[in-house]
Amino acid sequence: MQNAATPHSDQCLKLDFPSDNFSVRQALGKVLSLTLSDDEKSVVEIVLAEVLNNIVEHAYQEDPSGHIQLSVDPSDTGLRVLVQDEGLPLPADLPNKQVNYDLTCETGDLPEGGFGWLLVQELTDGLQYERRDGRNILSFQIPKPAEDQA
């Protein structure tokens, strides 16, 4: 990797891309090319895939002409992430919703959805959502796994 020697903190990445699945995958690839441990990569991929897919699917309702702005700023304690779009707002109760489901039920009653936001909540710190001037502004941190901290 050409920027492998770049100090961690200088790697701030700012991307602006259209709301289609291909562009989302490309953006994800760029984030994963930052200098991150394998553990960080796997968490970043899970979280950003969910957040960006939600924007494509729900905020823009699969309309590929929307725009997504993503900034990822590595710090000593993890990654600070800011995601903005101009699509529909998040459901009012979602940002603070406690996702809970019963897994002791019969196999036939197991949930097949509702996992996405749970994963985002579980894997991020300081998750904040704001609707401002027709924009969705979602910010959070992805903490560095304990074993990676010096």
Partner: protein
């Protein structure tokens, strides 16, 4: 979406040849799984070795695939990657599925002892 299977005396091993199970292939995954789990050996082990990543839609498809398996048949998973294992653990789905370290462990000797 690419699934293949091989039958041994004890189990049908279904191999997933995709590196990702996500929204793009979730429905095909579920449909192909329905075909592959409706007959053959009673025990089904899904080899996930090649799957690097699943998202919430992929997890939903795997749960749906398990739910549609006829009564009396198993639907077990083997060889989850670090990332895939994390998704199962965080959603507590690891408590619902039988998960093996690898296919050999699942079969305790492998398919090789077929006659």
């Amino acid at each position: 979406m690419q699934l293949t299977y091989q039958d041994g005396p004890e189990a049908r091993v279904i191999t997933v040849d995709n590196s990702r199970i996500d929204a793009a292939i979730a429905i095909k995954f579920k449909d192909q799984m329905r075909d592959m789990t409706s007959d053959g050996p009673q025990r089904v082990v899904v080899d996930m070795t090649k799957v690097d990543f699943i998202d919430s839609s992929g997890l939903g498809a795997i749960v749906a695939a398990m739910k549609q398996v006829p009564d009396g048949r198993s639907f077990e998973l083997a060889a989850l990657s670090n990332t895939v294992g994390k998704v199962f653990a965080l959603t507590r789905m690891d408590s619902v599925f039988t998960i093996h370290d690898n296919v050999d462990a699942a079969l305790d000797g492998g398919l090789a002892n077929a006659s």
